[in-house]
């Protein structure tokens, strides 16, 4: 069988397994939520509502039905693309996810881009002057940012840039004095569109000002991973036989790195990027909470505290589906790029 056929079969198997994984995950979340003590009525009414009122609300929310019946309804809804209705505000779960997921994705994508630029620049600088002070600094940066507690860095950034200097807002996603742009839910894109079409550049500036601190903080935290990965893999590649052979043929160091070492060093970085993207789809909880970023991770945390079963299930299923898609895409890309890989 040719490599392209094997690749196609591999992709097909990964795609076919995805629904099974999602079903298992959804069932597990469904079960775990019901096993956890307390239910939405306890979270909503606290300690004092009469038992009759609690029973009435339980019936109103459909929680009095047998577990199997609830599970069946959940699965049927899932197959039809209906994730149910939030118990706390009666809004469709899809709408809640539609409001919060773009916020997390926007934060994640911008942070990832910044992190990649910053991390790759730092990682690369280590190669520029190996064992020099710059290299030492790059190593320290990589280890330091990786080890920094995210909430601490976020709070320090908040304190310095928002409270002391007053340059950037403390939190939130958009200036409260302006109305958020309508459209895709990605405020940066929507604001850019408003700016280009209607010359409302205030929206874009507002979005940027609010995005900069959380995305910058997240980028610094993630950049260490990129810096270390690139530095180590580039160093390994530069010491390999094929680079030595190329050098002996008289290629310049720049060409050696850019044409021979870097492509090979970037393959593991691509894997790391995939894992990072997958983790960012679910949101960066501590960053979202610290900067009051209305993303999906912060919403999931609240939904768990409120025992909002449909919302927790919906968020987990959607995020898991995206994670599966991203990991499959990265695997396929790697398989396509790296001829050494067997599948």
């Amino acid at each position: 069988m040719s490599r392209s056929n094997r690749l196609l079969r591999y992709v097909g198997a990964r795609v076919a397994l995805a629904p099974v994984m999602l079903w298992l995950l959804a069932s597990l979340v469904f079960l775990l939520l019901r096993l956890a003590p307390g239910d939405p009525v306890d979270a909503l009414l606290g300690t004092r509502a009469p038992e009759a009122a609690r029973a009435a609300l339980r019936a109103q929310l459909g929680l009095d039905q047998p577990l199997l019946q609830q599970y069946w309804r959940f699965l049927i809804g899932l197959l039809q693309g209906d994730l149910g209705t939030s118990l706390t505000n009666q809004q469709p779960v899809r709408a809640v996810i539609g409001q919060t997921l773009p916020a997390s994705l926007e934060l994640g994508v911008v942070a990832l881009m910044l992190a990649a630029v910053l991390g790759l620049a730092v990682g690369f600088s280590g190669i520029a002057r190996a064992e020099s002070r710059l290299d030492l600094g790059a190593r320290l940066y990589g280890i330091g940012t990786y080890a920094l507690p995210s909430f601490w860095l976020a709070m320090m950034a908040q304190l310095v840039f928002a409270v002391w200097l007053g340059w950037l807002p403390v939190g939130g996603r958009f200036p409260p004095t302006l109305l958020p742009p309508s459209g895709t839910g990605f405020y940066l894109l929507d604001s850019l569109r408003d700016g280009l079409l209607h010359h409302h550049w205030q929206n874009l500036l507002g979005s940027l000002r609010h995005l900069l601190l959380p995305a910058g903080t997240l980028a610094v935290l993630l950049s260490g991973i990129f810096a270390n990965a690139l530095r180590l893999n580039l160093r390994r590649a530069m010491d390999s036989d094929y680079v030595e052979a190329a050098r002996s043929r008289g290629l310049s160091e720049r060409r050696l790195i850019l044409r021979h070492a870097l492509p090979n060093a970037l393959l593991p970085v691509l894997t790391i990027t995939g894992i990072t993207v997958a983790s960012l789809i679910g949101g960066a909880l501590l960053i979202e909470v610290t900067f009051s970023w209305p993303g999906v991770a912060a919403r999931l945390q609240e939904a768990i505290a409120q025992r909002d079963y449909p919302l927790v299930q919906g968020i987990v299923v959607v995020v898991a589906a995206l994670v599966v898609m991203v990991t499959v895409a990265v695997d396929v890309l790697l398989a396509w790029l790296d001829p050494r890989l067997e599948f």
Partner: protein, 533 residues
């Protein structure tokens, strides 16, 4: 082998550094590009994320605060604690048997959509709340039906006489809604829009931000500001920073860390901020499991009551922001004084522990549960544990354990906790709303409540005749009601199934260039009065 591909090209590093410097220089530029703010529009921040603005679904303090600005109740509790007609024209008229309540409604009031407010709208609202309200038990337990008796008068038929009906009708959840705007939501919630009669109309809603515009057709005094933006930030540090940096004009104390509250209060004392406090209507208390050993022994319960140094606990836990409390009813409410629980007296406590067979070699082991997601609960548990160890360490030993609140609530009715820290704020300010939810009992055997509020709250304590007295107190009014409520509190204090701890006062801090803010008698900031002169 080491490689130096760019050796001899240090300018690259210089370029990188220059790039970083430019990036840093962009930050103050972005800082300067803040959207221009209308000084007459104000931003008020809190930790209150609001999931729904529908009065039928709203139950959080933040949602109530918002509803009080965009809606009007039939009655309101004034700043002096008195009942004031708002959308009603006068106090309710009660029939001789106490079962029919007539309420006359204000004329000339319009909803935000321009439709008139009348009896049909009020009936629509109350019936809707009874059908789908999360807190429908508030009136469902008491109101059997409601009907219009004229274009601007309604009649409530009660299940049993209830003396505090005006207070009940001051609940902001009962704020009237436009039947036209809610015609497709008569039996389901409308979470992100609100069409009521309040001084502001809601022009934009997300759980994190609500924009309020003055309602031009408001029947009462128009708001003193040109509009408000209510924003929710998810952590206390961010809120504190936002007020410090001037990003927001006001900050509500709900869910703000006590450290931050104390720091803001200190700044207010130095004149750097303005602070206002509302009536203390939220109580913190301990529930004691009275139907199991060892706390089925009333001597031990009383000994515990005498072992609580509330003044010191409040000082340590809230840095003096909370007020010590020795009653279940807040002192600002009628029947809230005198406070019948005993004051701290370790000598007398020791005598009682001794009588019960403890002290001098035998220590009473107790376990206190606190809600792990509420920092003040944890601090209280640890502080009391240390104080007991110091003052009565040879008589009692306290083990503490944390548990997430929703998990704890589920287990209360199972009698899972010897001692647990809880809090409560009545949905409307009346003693009945503080006593009934902890003392009510539908089914009892002797002093043990088998079913009802007392069992559900984890104490299981009752006494013969208590439920009848509670019901009778609800039907009375004036001095006879006060006397009965005080007697009920005294008898409860003697049996000590609960230990009141402290009162929480709501606060708001605003920037010093704003006028002094005020609270109403229900503990809500009068947002329409906020003003930058």
């Amino acid at each position: 082998m080491s490689v130096r591909p760019w050796a001899g090209r240090p300018q690259r590093c210089a370029q990188a550094l220059a790039g970083a410097a430019v990036a840093l220089l962009v930050l103050p530029f972005l800082g300067a590009c803040q959207p221009r703010r209308d000084p007459a529009r104000l931003i008020v921040a809190s930790r209150n994320r609001i999931d729904t603005v529908d009065p039928a679904g709203a139950y959080t303090v933040g949602a109530m605060q918002l509803l009080s600005a965009i809606g009007d109740p039939l009655y309101a509790i004034g700043t002096d604690g008195r009942i004031e007609p708002r959308l009603a024209t006068d106090l309710p008229r009660i029939s001789g048997d106490g079962l029919r309540i007539q309420v006359s409604l204000r004329r000339g009031v319009r909803f935000h959509d321009g439709t008139p407010f009348d009896a049909a709208a009020m009936v629509f609202t109350l019936e809707r709340f009874l059908a789908i309200g999360k807190l429908s038990y508030l009136i469902g337990d008491r109101v059997a039906s409601v009907r219009a008796t004229g274009s601007h008068s309604i009649e409530l038929r009660l299940r049993r006489p209830f003396g505090a009906v005006s207070q009940l009708l001051s609940a902001i959840n009962l704020t009237p809604l436009s039947p036209t705007a809610y015609r497709h939501h008569a039996r389901r919630q409308l979470s992100d829009r609100f069409i009521g009669t309040g001084p502001y109309r809601l022009s934009f809603f997300t759980p994190q931000q609500q924009r309020l515009e003055p309602f031009a057709g408001y029947w009462g005094r128009p708001p003193a500001n040109r509009g408000l933006d209510l924003v929710a930030l998810s952590n206390s540090t961010a809120l504190f920073g936002a007020l410090q940096s001037g990003e927001v004009d006001g900050l509500l104390s709900t869910s703000l860390e006590l450290d931050h509250q104390a720091a803001l209060s200190r700044q207010a004392r130095r004149g750097l901020l303005r602070q206002a406090t509302g009536p203390a209507l939220e109580i913190g208390y301990l529930t004691l499991l009275t139907d199991q050993p060892p706390l089925n022994d009333v001597r031990l319960r009383r000994a515990l009551a005498l072992s609580l140094d509330r003044r010191r606990l409040v000082e340590r836990v809230s840095q003096g922001l909370n007020l010590p409390l020795r009653g279940l009813v807040p002192p600002v409410l009628p029947a809230g004084t005198p406070e019948p629980w005993p004051a701290y007296n370790p000598q007398q406590a020791r005598r009682l522990y001794r009588q019960a067979g403890y002290c001098g070699g035998r220590r009473l082991p107790l376990e206190l549960t606190f809600r792990s997601n509420i920092p003040s609960d944890r601090l209280f548990a640890l502080t009391w544990q240390a104080l007991l160890q110091r003052d009565l360490g040879d008589c009692v030993t306290l083990a503490v354990q944390g548990m997430e609140s929703t998990t704890a609530y589920r287990q209360l009715g199972d009698g899972a906790f010897q001692l647990i820290v809880l809090d409560w704020m009545g949905d409307f300010p009346d003693a009945d709303n503080y006593l009934m939810p902890v003392l009510g009992c539908d089914k009892a055997r002797g002093d043990r409540c088998l079913q009802g509020a007392s069992a559900a709250s984890g104490s299981f304590w009752t006494r013969p005749g208590l439920e009848a007295e509670l019901r009778r107190s609800a039907s009375l009014s004036g001095d006879p009601r006060l006397a009965l409520l005080r007697r009920i509190q005294r008898q409860t204090a003697a049996a000590t199934p609960y230990l009141p701890l402290w009162l929480v006062q709501p606060r708001i801090w605003v920037r010093p260039d704003l006028d002094q803010p005020r609270f109403d008698g229900s503990g809500r900031v009068l947002l329409q009065e906020l003003r930058r002169p």
